[in-house]
């Protein structure tokens, strides 16, 4: 990498009051993405050897986890206490809570098991908003088109149509549960436009949209009479019938005492979220501590087909100059509000409201070609020009982005006075488990919702579709998971584990690695000893 412009020199070139020239026109998006997006970095992806996706491209670090040995064998299950429920929801974020609430609305006995605390999730950190086509100039069709285009036409149109069509009713459902949104003086829901949207479609609650959503969902789940919640309880394996062909339960363990428990179910809904904490390709992450891709591993081992395992979203604006917040986000809404990106020479280099993968690649390009801001040769980034935004709209940052202001205040930074140094950060898993419009995976009895599921966002998610996705498909999975009224499992086995183990042996793959990851290594020391 070329060295960038040293920090002091870049600060001298930066002038808050200078007029900002228009961004240069981007000649060819594909060339930029192919050259600079981390997905395309050399040796990022390999082909899977075993399992239903054998032969498909998969990010290297993730492939190691998918093709690994389990923690559980038959001996662990002997004598383990058994709990019977109708529906087991795995994951305590927005998708898991939406699924649990909806399944219980249908009359099911629901158990929600979550690795950390209920509500500890990426949902709580989402700042910008949730998309729904409610503006007079907008339509569900337009929402579908923007989502497909933003995903470079890699998404499944049926899933996108299902999600976009749910948008307005998702808002109604959330408001009924008690979630607040910003309104206009006339009482309309306030909308704003962000990257990849052709009209204003983002509804929000200041820059606390995810927090507001999560605390309402969390309270609704805790207070619900027919939902039981197990916290600090990661699922480390699924259970299959004697043919290994149907999901009939799960093995739940405890971070507190290590106790292994068997849960027998009619349906399992996986809502375990993403995998930023695997730090793919060595990137920092915006993600929550629990985002270690556990659900992908569980789903793959029981035979569920996955997709787009080589496609991840690197959010363009992760914080750089605050070590303890490294990789944490500055919401895209700040760019939507008018903040521009400047390189070390104080020049704009990209239309800031291009889709996230394009803006990300452009930042990587600036830094790789020596136009980034260089801090002591250790870190590099570009400016997010918040002071200029503050100057043109005084008070806006304090009023609309209290979360950003609070967070930077702790670090002694004032975004109104100095620009923020940013660099892309691993943010979102674009692919995941293959689902249908009911959230059903390719394995009977197994459903997936939220970031874990794939096929909706193609190869790039646009802002505000994650919060819609989790509620839309969380509810769909919650309904579908209760619709199958068979008599429940007769026998719970690890037949699917034996199947994958045989395949690994035949392929001559190493059996030393175990998965799921559960916690990142730096947090697991002294805490979670396998």
């Amino acid at each position: 990498m070329n060295k960038g412009v040293p920090l002091a020199e870049a600060l001298a070139l930066y002038h808050r009051a200078a007029d900002r020239a228009p961004a240069p026109v981007l000649a060819d998006i594909d060339t930029l993405l192919n050259a600079y997006h981390p997905d395309h970095a050399r040796s990022s992806a390999i082909k899977l050897t075993v399992g239903v996706n054998a032969g498909d491209e998969c990010q290297r670090d993730l492939a190691d986890l998918l093709q690994a040995e389990t923690f559980i064998d038959e001996a662990n299950l002997a004598g383990a206490p058994v709990t019977d429920v109708d529906v087991l929801v795995v994951g305590g974020g927005g998708a898991g809570c939406a699924a649990a609430l909806t399944a219980s609305e249908q009359g099911a006995r629901v158990l929600l098991a979550t690795k950390l605390r209920l509500g500890d999730s990426n949902t709580v950190m989402a700042e910008g908003g949730i998309q729904a086509a409610i503006d007079p100039e907008d339509s569900v069709q337009c929402h579908i088109q923007d989502t497909l285009r933003g995903g470079h036409y890699g998404g499944d149109p049926a899933l996108v149509a299902a999600m976009a069509g749910d948008g307005p009713d998702v808002l109604r459902w959330l408001i009924n549960l008690g979630m607040q949104f910003e309104t206009t003086p006339g009482g309309d829901l306030q909308t704003r436009r962000a990257g990849g949207m052709s009209v204003a479609r983002l509804v929000y609650c200041r820059d606390y949209t995810g927090l507001e959503m999560m605390r309402v969902l969390r309270e609704a789940v805790i207070q619900h009479r027919s939902i039981e919640v197990w916290e600090q309880s990661p699922v480390v394996e699924l259970l299959s019938n004697e043919h290994g062909q149907k999901c009939v339960g799960a093995v739940v363990t405890s971070l507190i005492d290590g106790q292994v428990r068997i849960v027998r179910t009619r349906s399992v809904i996986l809502a375990t979220g993403g995998l930023g904490r695997l730090h793919l390709n060595g990137f920092p992450t915006s993600n929550h501590l629990g985002a270690t891709g556990d659900g992908l591993v569980l789903a793959y081992r029981i035979g569920a087909k996955l997709r787009d395992l080589d496609s991840f979203q690197y959010h363009p604006t992760g914080l750089v100059n605050t070590p303890h917040l490294s990789g944490k986000l500055v919401t895209e809404a700040v760019r939507a509000a008018g903040a521009v990106l400047l390189n070390g020479n104080a020049r704009r280099f990209i239309d800031e409201l291009q889709p996230r993968d394009v803006v990300c690649a452009a930042i990587v390009r600036e830094c790789a070609e020596g136009r980034g801001v260089d801090i002591n040769g250790q870190r590099v980034g570009v400016w997010l020009d918040t002071p200029h935004l503050e100057q043109s709209q005084p008070g806006l940052l304090e009023k609309q982005f209290p979360n950003l202001m609070t967070r930077t205040r702790v670090s002694g930074i004032d975004p109104r006075a100095e620009p923020l140094l940013v660099y892309p950060t691993l943010h979102y898993q674009n692919g995941g488990a293959v689902i249908d419009a009911n959230g059903a995976t390719t394995v009977p009895g197994l459903f997936a919702a939220g970031e874990l599921a794939g096929g909706i966002h193609g190869r790039n998610r646009i802002m505000g579709n994650a919060l819609l996705d989790i509620i839309s498909f969380g509810r769909r999975a919650g309904i579908a998971a209760t619709a199958t009224r068979d008599r429940g499992p007769k026998k719970v086995t690890l037949e699917h584990v034996n199947r994958l183990r045989r395949a690994l042996t035949l392929a001559g793959m190493p059996m030393s690695r175990r998965s799921p990851q559960v916690l990142p290594p730096y947090a697991a020391k002294g805490l979670w000893n396998h």
Partner: protein, 212 residues
């Protein structure tokens, strides 16, 4: 610029105790980073690492002064005693939002569910314990007076760490009162014309005979 100061800070070593274990770590680390760095066992209550999930509750002892806070938002200090707190137990107050049939009796229902809310003795324990600087006591007074919208607005930055619930000698559960206020405000009063118009348009298009 703060980044260079922080880099310099990280060269200095400070000694503190976490869950009773003496650890020496670099200045500029948060308490969470310090706990990880030192391999402190049983620290499971870590979540977002940016101060919005409210999980990493800690008790902080500086000499005789004892306070509480969030470990991911607190930097290491020499001599400080840190204890990671267990997660809050299940709430004692129970309601489901669909139990409320209309808004006219909500004041009575509120005092049935949270009878302690009108017994605040103004000890400021909740205010001192709040890592977000929320005027918790004022919010509780507004709630007790039936001003749910204003009360809820007081709690906009609440991250549900429930430290105020622990601090309250009257067992008011302020965090849950705040959330109740926010929820009933949306549940009864948020009726956006643009959303209602679109929902009706979608309903009518589904009723058209030629709709698939």
């Amino acid at each position: 610029m703060s980044s260079t100061i922080t880099d310099a800070d990280r060269q200095q070593v400070v000694t503190l105790t976490i869950n009773g274990v003496t650890v020496s770590v670099n200045k500029g680390m948060t308490l969470v980073e310090a706990a990880w760095h030192a391999g402190i066992s049983r620290v499971t209550s870590v979540g977002c690492l940016e101060g919005v999930c409210g999980s990493c509750r800690v008790m902080l002892g500086r000499g005789k002064e004892v306070t509480v806070g969030l470990a991911c938002q607190t930097f290491v200090e020499a001599g400080i005693e840190v204890v990671f707190l267990p997660a809050a137990s299940a709430p004692r107050h129970h309601y489901e939002i669909d139990d409320f049939q209309d808004g006219w009796d909500i004041h009575a229902r509120f005092h049935e569910i949270f009878p302690e809310a009108s017994r605040c003795r103004h000890c400021h324990g909740c205010v001192r314990s709040c890592p977000k600087g929320i005027a918790v006591e004022d919010g509780i007074a507004l709630a007790a007076a039936g001003r749910y919208r204003d009360a809820g607005e007081t709690f906009i930055e609440c991250v549900m760490c429930e430290l105020c619930d622990v601090a309250c000698p009257e067992l008011i559960a302020p965090a849950h009162v705040g959330l109740f206020c926010r929820r009933v405000t949306a549940h009864f009063h948020l009726r956006p014309p643009n959303l209602i118009f679109r929902l009706e348009a979608i309903r009518q298009s589904r009723m058209e005979p030629d709709h698939e």
